[in-house]
Symmetry: D2
Subunit: 142 residues, 4 copies
């Protein structure tokens, strides 16, 4: 019983942003939010079924990926508190880039959807995605 | 044999922009580009099958519409020179709004796709859509 | 907290099926399931915002429509028991036809999605859609 | 300047069909049509960017893949005659499975789209996809 939706404009061309975020096993652009991104298993970072553990607690699997649309989707298999496997099911996160052609920048859309008897996960997840946006923006300003 | 793709950010909330552009029979927001927008037939401006003639030369039909996605698609049945019914077929234009949530503004995406042995229509259409973007922006600044 | 998904193949060409079901104000093809389909307001049956009341209890609004994709989506604003406005929110039903090209028939996909603390509406809605499939099939056999 | 669209119902559950066709490097199900499917490079068969050569002449790259939608898209980089890199550009093939829930079978949709001054590739590609459908059906009847 929940979803989040957030977008922001990143001041960089879509190809640069896509190259930075497309590797499911590399979240080094998210410093300050994701301190540790561990690959689980042998899948490559752009291979369907790739798994990762973020900060030791978010267990995620890559389920959809497109170099055509500059987009990917992942499932949260387990996580802390409000997104634990007992609290939510079928959690799908979706990331998509859309070029802003007149400025040669791009929009990033990060949305998510899940089943749950409560909406406890909404604010929790929304705030994480906002922090990730800040990190991504900062990574292009250094 | 062609397509165009253009996007820009409009400095207004998505609902305001959608309310301004959703009526297929009202392009008064496009002053300087569309001088005349004539409804053909009895269909309403948000009814599938609605027809219009722009500036006396572009004959268009509404084929898809979504208040969920803030989007619509139309077919060009006939037009001047590079988009005449002899020069192109299956011309579909698509307009979609995507909210920019952190700024409470929105992105407008205007794309088009058609079949043709040449790509003569590309620049022609691209420039029209850019002019429409300018008109739309101006309409929110007055 | 719920969704349904059901599909079946109809033994008729996609255009015939689409012509039969595309009018939001005409469910005469659904005899035995929908005894009464009342239009509310002045909108046409293929106009976004069209409203109807089915069997005196399901209040629905058309929110998306495509003659390109042979599809439409509607919102349930209020309904009996498990789909009343107090029990569910953001109920969106979606109908889409996909041609089966080698047989010149078509697949109909009827899915739905909503927010709710319970999943009480799942079986209720699923069974209605199955009955509608039966009615639609019968309507092509008479 | 071209596209193809073809669908058929396969008499097997969607999961079985997806498991059979999802590996981009294994077209053993297409006997009689694809005699040789060579992987190029080190990418896995469900990794974006995976490359293959079919029958020594079709050079293809995986560009989109979804375990959520049971779908993938690939680009034809070069091929024989009507789909050679000089004859067409931006050739994208798309494969998608849709469950037929009441029969526990599935629909396969194989479509393609490309840019070209002629439509020479239409029949050529359409017939290949029909042959692939026959092979796939046969693979479930043995």
């Amino acid at each position: 019983m929940g979803k989040t939706y957030q977008t922001t404009v990143i001041q960089a061309p879509v190809d640069q942003v896509w190259n930075k975020i497309r590797n499911f096993h590399d979240m080094s652009w998210a410093s300050g939010v994701v301190e540790k991104c561990e690959a689980v298993g042998e899948h490559a970072g752009d291979q369907i079924g790739a798994r990762r553990v973020l900060n030791g607690v978010f267990h995620e699997t890559l389920v959809e990926f497109s170099d055509l649309e500059n987009s990917f989707k992942y499932r949260i298999d387990d996580g802390p508190g409000p997104v634990s496997k007992d609290a939510v099911k079928d959690y799908i996160g979706a990331v998509r880039l859309i070029p802003v052609t007149d400025e040669n920048t791009c929009l990033i859309e990060w949305s998510s959807r899940w089943e749950s008897p409560t909406d406890d996960a909404c604010d929790f997840c929304h705030n994480i995605y906002l922090s990730l946006f800040d990190s991504l923006k900062n990574s292009f300003e250094a």
